[in-house]
Structures are given as C-alpha cells and as structure tokens.
Subunit: 166 residues, 2 copies
DNA sequence: TATTGTTATACTCTATAACTATA
DNA sequence: TATAGTTATAGAGTATAACAATA
C-alpha cells in the first residue's frame, strides 16, 4: 500500500496520445507493408533486422530478443519467411543447438522494394508535424524510457503481487 | 513524384524507440489487464471509454471511431463484453438503426478493480524515467502528431502509389 | 540439467462479404 | 440509396506445453 497510484492529467494525456499515435501509425504501416510486399509488421522487422546485420544473419534467440515473441511464434514466422524464400535457416556452426537465420537476395530485394513506401508513411504520418528539433527532443525522451523498459524484468508487470511467494 | 524519401538517423532512432517502447508497454499492460480482470486491451479501452462518458453509454459507431476497428470486430468485442455482463446493448431511442452500448455496474466495478494495477504499470514503466517536465514536453510533441494523424485520411497510407502498379 | 528450437494445438482477434433493418 | 449493425466465415497471429537434440 505504498502509493495510491494515479496519473495526473498531463501524464494521462501523454499516455493516451502515445497509444493512439502508435496505434494509428502501426495500422498505416502494416497496411503499406501488406500491400507493397505482403509482409506483416513482424516479418518486416525480422527482415530489417537481418538486413542490418553485417553478415545478414542472426541466431533465432537473438532475433527473438528484439521482437519480444515466444520462441514458437518466432519459429512460425521464420517458417513463413523461409517458405517465401526470403530467409534461409541452417544449424549454427559453433553451437549445434542453435539455428542461424540468413536473409536471401530475394529477402533483400523485397526489403528494398518495401522500404521507400514504409519510410514515406512514417515520414508523412509521424514526422510531418514535427520540426527537426522536435524529433531530436522526442528521441531524447524515448531513449531513456526504452533503456528503462529493457532493463526492467517483465514480471514487474505485476510488481506488488508475486504469485510464487516472495 | 518521389522525394527519394529517407529518414535521418535521429528520425530513425525516434521511430524505432517509439515502436519498441509502445510495444513493450502494451505487452506489459495487456498482461496486467488479463491477469487482474481477464480483459484484452481493446476491451479495456471500450470499457474505459464507456466509463468516461457521463451517461455510461455510446453508440456502436462512436465506439468504433476511437478504436479504429471494423464494425464486425466491434460487434464481436461488444458481444464478449455483454456476455460477461460488463455492458448492455439496446436499440437507440432516437435512431432505431443504432445500438446504444451502456456499461453496467459490474463493468464499472471491474474497471475500478483493474485500474490501479494498470496505472501502476504505466507509471512504473513509462513515466519512471521521465521528469514532470519531460512528460509535459512529450505530451506537447504527441498532441500535434495525434491531430495530424486523425485528420489524415487512412487511404493516405500509400499516397503516391495507387496499387502495385509501379 | 540447462539451453535451443520445433511441433501440436487451441484460442483470440481481425477483416470481408452477405445480409437485415431502419432512415 | 445510404447508414447501422449483425452474422458467417476464413485467415493470421500468439501462447502453452510437450518434445528432441545439443551443451
């Protein structure tokens, strides 16, 4: 019973706007990705992540780390991407338990095809009303929040109520 | 007419952080809502919206407006909420075509039960690393973006490219 | 034993189209 | 004809648990 938690109006407004903005943005982006490349947002994220890598590869576990999913969900998505010829899976050389996912040329090509429209949507929807300084400020605010969330263990979703004792 | 669209590093960082932050936040919030009230986020949003209304009611169409969904999706969710006794549906008095959704006492009770934990998660995850001024700044940045998105027609998701017709 | 990944399965959610009824 | 909502249905996505293989 420490703090009767509540949000002041400013916090509430920021929270609601954050949810609405990203919800609308995500919706628009998903539509664009689906139309221009038949990709879901998650699939795009996975491809983009692989494309960013110098080797074009990542282990399954590393991929999962960024996209929050369950392992089975990642396996499902990786399976779809592989079936579409956009990635290849192979056992990792150093650790036989691991699977290394690698983006194919077709994957890179699709990424390149989809990216301009993606950027266009983000640019036109998210950044249009923001000045360069605004964006800098926004980035400066979000970065520490991201760090905080990353370092906060997921079970803290229900911090005061542990189920397994404690 | 392509303006060879691209995002500068600052924009890219802001965009990625925005996606990651809200993704993590949403995940945490959904978990809390599910555990404490067996509600999905959408259902919570609908309940909260009804709870905020002075009458405790909204027409289906008005509800849909805020939650972006297809009408059938809203019907589905409203059906679930009604089956759980959290809302009631009745034909609107003034327009026989419309349906008025009203939150029940049980709905309000559930809302009250779930809200503290919800706020706790948002507070601890999103606002913890932000000062009061930071939040004010964030709200000030997001509000115009929200307005811009609201006023931008959805089909603009792919503005320059009609179909896939290159 | 712990970790990595897959499979099977069940469930939730969303979208499309056809349909009813009111305006 | 246009609007409000429902239904049927199909598909995508996600999570859990059991499983196999390697460390």
């Amino acid at each position: 019973m420490s703090d009767s938690p509540s949000l002041d109006p400013v916090q509430l407004g920021a929270y609601f706007d954050l949810i609405e903005v990203t919800s609308l943005l995500r919706h628009a982006v998903e539509q664009q990705l689906r139309e221009s490349g038949d990709l879901s947002y998650v699939q795009f994220q996975l491809l983009a992540r692989l494309g960013d890598s110098p080797t074009g590869s990542h282990r399954m576990t590393d991929l999962a780390d960024g996209v929050v999913y369950s392992r089975s969900g990642l396996t499902y998505q990786a399976g779809l991407l592989e079936k579409a010829g956009l990635v290849v899976r192979a056992p990792s050389p150093d650790d036989e338990r691991s699977v290394t996912v690698t983006i194919t040329d077709a994957g890179r090509a699709l990424l390149a095809k989809v990216l301009p429209g993606h950027i266009e949507v983000v640019s036109g929807l998210l950044f249009e009303p923001l000045s360069r300084d605004d964006v800098k400020t926004l980035a400066g605010l979000l970065a520490p929040v991201r760090e905080h969330m990353r370092s906060t263990p997921p079970r803290s979703a229900a911090p005061r109520r542990r189920k397994d004792g404690a």
